[in-house]
């Protein structure tokens, strides 16, 4: 069952994330895809995450597809102008990559080439609008027709926790207006704050126009916890979560982190309007089966593409 079909059918969807390697091989992507394919509906393939150069998102997506796991190709606005972005969507669609996740992208300042030119020719709302226009109108931004137009399922991201809080659900509304069919959120460590945002989302009726997948992360170590709290832009780790993960001995942080993730999934699953979860576990994919098992989501995922 594809991600789109899973969401349309109304059953709880699970996605995860793969960071392609820094190197000219798709083998690591394939290995991770094989590990995850019976547990998740689809996997995001990141686009030079954190502004660090990695194997291209489209190539990683193709590798996941070949390994039997449906990819969600991430596409940021940081490195490509509207010519390259439109061209890449055509290429991805032609290769069978259907899901595209659109995001602004981190600023180059945070990556391994801080001297690079930040492109940001389009923003994420404009890129969604552009891709929907290509699919539905069968034309480029220039008006030139596409034969055939691309087929794509369009995703967006949102951070429910960043200021201005009053505008975050509205911002998702703009993305839905521009063409977003599903959204994956930033890490939910603060379930209460997420649920406040969901109230606004439901008031705007966005959960009926767009499938909402809440981001869930599994903290692996004390260092990762501190990094997440202090260094990752837009991530909010509340004090009670921080204290809980610091209260166990360091060698048990990973186990406690996985337990917390499983509990969070259960709480999110019970939240009205949440269509699924997105597991932000890049680099820690082997934890996925345990977390999902503990959350009561069993391995029942049909294989895709073979």
């Amino acid at each position: 069952m594809s991600l789109r079909d899973r969401l349309t059918s109304g059953s709880f969807a699970v996605t995860a994330e793969i960071s392609p390697p820094r190197g000219a091989s798709t083998d690591p992507v394939m290995e991770t895809a094989v590990l995850l394919r019976d547990w998740v509906d689809a996997v995001n393939v990141t686009d030079n995450q954190g502004s660090n150069v990695r194997l291209a998102s489209w190539a990683g997506s193709l590798a996941a597809l070949q390994a039997g796991l449906e990819p969600v190709m991430q596409m940021t606005c940081r490195d490509r102008n509207r010519i390259a972005l439109q061209s890449d969507l055509l290429g991805a669609s032609a290769l069978g990559i259907r899901n595209v996740l659109v995001m602004t992208g981190d600023h180059p300042k945070f990556g391994d080439h801080p001297e690079a030119k930040p492109v940001f020719d389009l923003d994420s709302v404009q890129l969604l609008w552009t891709l929907r226009h290509m699919r539905d109108q069968g034309a480029l931004l220039s008006g030139r027709p596409l034969k055939p137009p691309p087929d794509c399922f369009l995703g967006a991201v949102e951070n429910p926790f960043a200021p201005p809080a009053e505008f975050r659900a509205e911002r998702l509304g703009k993305k839905v207006d521009a063409g977003a069919q599903f959204v994956q959120t930033q890490f939910v460590f603060d379930v209460a704050a997420f649920q406040n945002w969901m109230v606004q989302v439901r008031d705007l009726g966005l959960h009926q126009k767009c499938y909402i997948l809440a981001g869930v992360g599994a903290v692996r170590s004390r260092n990762a916890l501190d990094f997440m709290r202090d260094k990752v832009p837009g991530v909010n780790v509340p004090d009670d979560v921080y204290r809980r993960l610091r209260a166990v001995p360091p060698d048990q942080t990973a186990a406690e982190g996985a337990r917390l993730a499983a509990e969070t999934i259960q709480q999110l699953r019970a939240t009205d309007g949440v269509a699924g979860v997105h597991l932000l576990v890049a680099g820690n994919e082997q934890a996925v089966p345990g977390i999902l098992d503990e959350a009561g989501i069993t391995a029942s995922r049909a294989e895709y593409g073979r």
Binding site: M103, S124, W129, L141, S142, E158, G173, D177, G234
Partner: protein, 177 residues
């Protein structure tokens, strides 16, 4: 074209006065006529453009993109966002409302929301801004505005998906399709 990188700027014009000026300077036949005359003049146009740049740079940190969003962003310039986002903040805004790229400065969209909301104009931020035309850098946005060339900068607000809207910056393509 400007060579200055985008840096968040705090506007030096109060919100109330800004919206009053907006009403006073709305396109009207007189302003349309005047702006056409300025535009046609080889002397007046660069002088006017320089004056506009100086004024808007002082007040808003203007970088002369030539397609002004200020009327619907609480008069905080979105082109000062390091990612030049025209449709709202990115996900990296600090808990205190700081810019992730320049942590000592406030996110332009946090400020835009506050200023627009303070005058009952929060709904302005729901407009979908279409991609900008990079050929217009350095041009006078005021002349473009009075001449009606800004009408495709954004769509009609919440719920307007722009699906049937015009294709922006469409240029005649030789040979049709």
């Amino acid at each position: 074209m400007t060579t200055r990188p985008p840096v968040p700027a705090h506007p030096r014009l109060g919100t109330r006065l800004a919206y009053q000026l907006q009403r006073a300077l709305r396109p009207r036949p007189g302003l349309r006529w005047l702006s056409a005359r300025i535009e046609a003049s080889g002397l007046a146009r660069p002088l006017f453009t320089k004056t506009e740049h100086h004024t808007k740079d002082t007040l808003f940190g203007c970088r002369m993109c030539g397609q002004c969003a200020l009327p619907v962003t609480g008069y905080v310039c979105p082109m000062g966002c390091p990612k030049e986002l025209r449709n709202g903040p990115c996900g990296g805004v600090g808990a205190d409302g700081s810019c992730e790229v320049y942590p000592s400065l406030r996110c332009v969209w946090v400020e835009a929301y506050e200023r627009a909301a303070s005058r009952g104009r929060a709904a302005d931020l729901r407009l979908l801004h279409l991609p900008i035309d990079h050929r217009r850098w350095g041009q006078s946005a005021w002349l473009n505005y009075w001449q009606g060339r800004d009408e495709e900068l954004w769509t009609g607000g919440a719920g307007d998906t722009g699906a049937n809207g015009p294709v922006p910056h469409r240029v005649p393509v030789l040979g049709g399709s």
